[in-house]
């Protein structure tokens, strides 16, 4: 079990409220990857040389719908500085990843540097705080 301190909180979904469907935005860029299973996670996140932002989201989560495109935009803007790795928590093959990181609310971002989780952000706080956290990650 990974125990992480939650560092930041913003708008989030813990199973209450009515939300719009999040349309999965598949990006074919080298800066964004959709994680398929735990093995994929080991290879792409733990073993990554560059910092990685893991985005735990669900199709039915409204704040996730707002946040993920912002992240994709930032991944393009800082081309190559970090990898955005997306985890669909409803994907049965990703259950083990979700369990290990004890995801309790959505969206949750876990930022990795050299295979270790550094910062956990729960919720969507808007683009400026997000960009500021990201810059700290790879600078």
């Amino acid at each position: 079990m990974m125990h992480m301190r939650i560092n930041r909180i913003g708008n989030l979904n813990i199973g209450k409220g009515i939300f719009n469907t999040y349309k999965r935005c598949y990006s074919s860029s080298k800066n964004v990857v959709q994680l398929k299973n735990l093995n994929d996670f080991e290879e792409q996140v733990i073993k990554s040389k560059a910092p990685v932002v893991v985005d735990f989201y669900a199709d039915w989560c409204g704040p996730c719908k707002n946040l993920t495109p912002k992240l994709v935009g930032l991944a393009e803007k800082y081309d190559g500085k970090f990898l955005l790795a997306k985890v669909d928590i409803d994907d049965i093959n990703c259950t083990e990843i979700v369990r290990q990181y004890e995801i309790r609310a959505l969206p949750t971002l876990v930022m990795f540097k050299n295979g270790e989780p550094t910062v956990t952000i729960v919720g969507d706080r808007g683009i400026d705080p997000l960009e500021s956290d990201l810059k700290q990650l790879f600078d």
Binding site: I14, G15, K16, G17, I18, F19, N20, D59, W60, C61
Partner: protein, 513 residues
């Protein structure tokens, strides 16, 4: 499958089986709950909180149309929650239609009078999407809840191999053996498709499918006199569909008959067609539509009509298939439900059952939850408190909402005799309906026992916000309130509910304020 293995003779000294030790029993778990619905979740969490090592299994067998859903059971996924949200969609439409009279310049006066006008302004797809997104959020929340409460959750179908062993099979076919000191069966029920109606199961849908239907329901036939049928027919009409309800005999059997009649009458006034007493005999696919052949139950006259959707809500059967109960000699009722005593014990001492699956229970979420929690306290906290099934309040969310606690008039007359009852009833005007000139009235009925100081044994309310109104009154009835108590309570003005603080025999109509 194993041979029938009889458990050791139970020593019943109290509400709980004690033939095996509580700790150090050697089984994998103290408790395995089979079924992750209202009852199962409540019981498992309460038990874990009291220190038991608990696992819960939940698995949804697909409906005949192939619909499945996540953790949480009927209420969350295909019952109370989506129903109430869709009922609300209907009410929002009503308010929208009336809004002109309250000064809003959004919808023109009378612009939403016709069904077609309503339909034009409504997106079924968006309602379903929003409702389903909310439900998925709940599925996730319950998983997180279980983890927080240290209950192990498996998305798997449980089957008894012997009295203390189950086999859990997940969707990929992986099997796992699990043993437990005790079990709670909480697998609930599923909608019945009547076998005597040809092609019912192949062509029609049920409440399992309606709330996630990926196409507009369109012209719909709701077969059944149950609250499921009437509630769904109600909101489907309110959102602009052409809806017919087919009732074989009387609506809402078991409920207060006068109230049931008023509910159906209201629906008929608001555009739902009522075919009573008729029943379907055969369904036939005709292109994209379904032809229904039906007959008059009394005259045997036959007729036929075509619908986009046929919805069956004629009852529910207990979901015991695949549980392996035949391996255990567990007693079932004639209808296939599990027989339990007042402590939720089945005929096998260390196996308990709660919720819709239980014979003689009440099929309501709060009842299952209460049963589950009380059972956990009896099992793990030495409690002797039993579930109280008397005066359980309920509400039917038809367009004219109906809240009730206690006895129907028929049950009260049967129990006390008509001479021993004072029945106070009144129709009343609803203030908010006056501006849009809406003629619908509310109705309230209080049934009091003369020989018991006019104790209130039945409360019935037809009108807006019936659930909110009835919940409060349920507390009064539980405390054995009398007619005098109701009279001594000052009303709140101007609300519908105040009418039951001023009831008089013989004054059955509202004379105005």
């Amino acid at each position: 499958m194993g041979a029938v293995i009889k458990p050791p003779k139970a020593v019943m000294t109290g509400p709980v089986d004690t033939h095996l030790p509580e700790t150090g029993h050697g089984f994998d778990y103290d408790l395995i709950v089979i079924g992750g619905g209202s009852g199962g979740l409540a019981c498992s969490k309460a038990a874990a909180e009291l220190g038991a090592k608990v696992a819960i299994l939940d698995f949804v067998k697909p409906s005949p149309q192939g619909t499945r859903w996540g953790l949480g059971g009927t209420c969350v996924n295909v019952g109370c929650i989506p129903k109430k949200l869709m009922h609300t969609a209907g009410i929002v439409g009503e308010r929208l239609a009336e809004s002109y009279h309250f000064g809003w310049n959004v919808v023109e006066e009378d612009a939403m009078n016709e069904l077609s006008a309503k339909k034009e302004k409504f997106s079924w797809e968006r309602l379903v999407e929003n409702v389903q997104n909310y439900i998925h959020g709940l599925n996730f929340k319950y998983k997180v809840d279980l983890r927080s409460n240290k209950v192990e959750y498996l998305n798997a179908l449980g089957e008894f191999l012997d009295a203390h062993t189950i086999q859990a099979t997940d969707i990929k076919g992986n099997k796992k053996k699990m043993t437990a000191r005790r079990f709670v069966l909480a697998t609930g029920g599923r909608p019945v498709f009547p076998q005597e109606v040809e092609n019912a199961e192949q062509l029609a849908i049920s409440s399992d499918d309606l709330f996630s239907l990926d196409r507009e329901p369109g012209k719909t036939l709701c077969v059944g006199a149950s609250y499921v049928s009437l509630e769904c027919a109600g909101f489907l009409t309110a959102i602009g569909n052409d809806v017919t309800v087919m009732i074989r005999s009387i609506p809402l059997r078991g409920f207060d008959e006068q109230s049931a009649t008023m509910i159906v009458s209201h629906m008929s006034d608001h555009g739902t067609k009522i075919l009573q007493p008729w029943a379907p005999s055969k369904l036939t696919k005709v292109g994209e539509k379904i032809q229904v052949d039906y007959y008059n139950v009394n005259t045997k006259e036959t007729a036929s009509d075509t619908f986009d959707t046929v919805f069956f809500a004629v009852g529910r059967y207990p979901d015991v298939k695949g549980l392996g109960l035949e391996n255990l000699e567990l007693k079932l009722s004639p209808s296939g439900k599990i027989q339990v005593d007042e402590f939720e014990r089945t005929s096998v001492p260390h196996i308990y059952a709660i919720g819709d699956i239980v014979a003689g229970g009440i099929e309501l979420t709060p009842v299952a939850i209460q049963c589950g929690k009380l059972l956990a306290t009896r099992l793990y906290n030495s409690s002797t408190k039993k579930m109280d099934y008397i005066n359980v309040p309920t509400t039917v969310f038809t367009p004219l909402e109906y809240g009730a606690v206690g006895l129907s008039e028929e049950a009260a007359v049967s129990k006390y005799g008509k001479d021993n009852l004072n029945i106070y009833s009144k129709s009343f005007n609803i203030l908010e309906y006056q501006l849009p000139h809406r003629e619908d009235q509310g109705f309230v009925k209080l049934i009091c026992v003369k020989s018991e100081n006019e104790k209130v044994v039945g409360f019935h309310y037809l009108g807006p916000n019936a659930g909110e109104v009835t919940q409060g009154v349920a507390i009064a009835v539980k405390l054995s309130a009398t007619k005098q108590d109701f009279d001594d309570t000052v009303g709140i003005h101007p609300v519908c509910a105040e009418v039951f603080t001023t009831l008089r025999l013989g004054q059955t109509e509202d004379s105005g304020c």
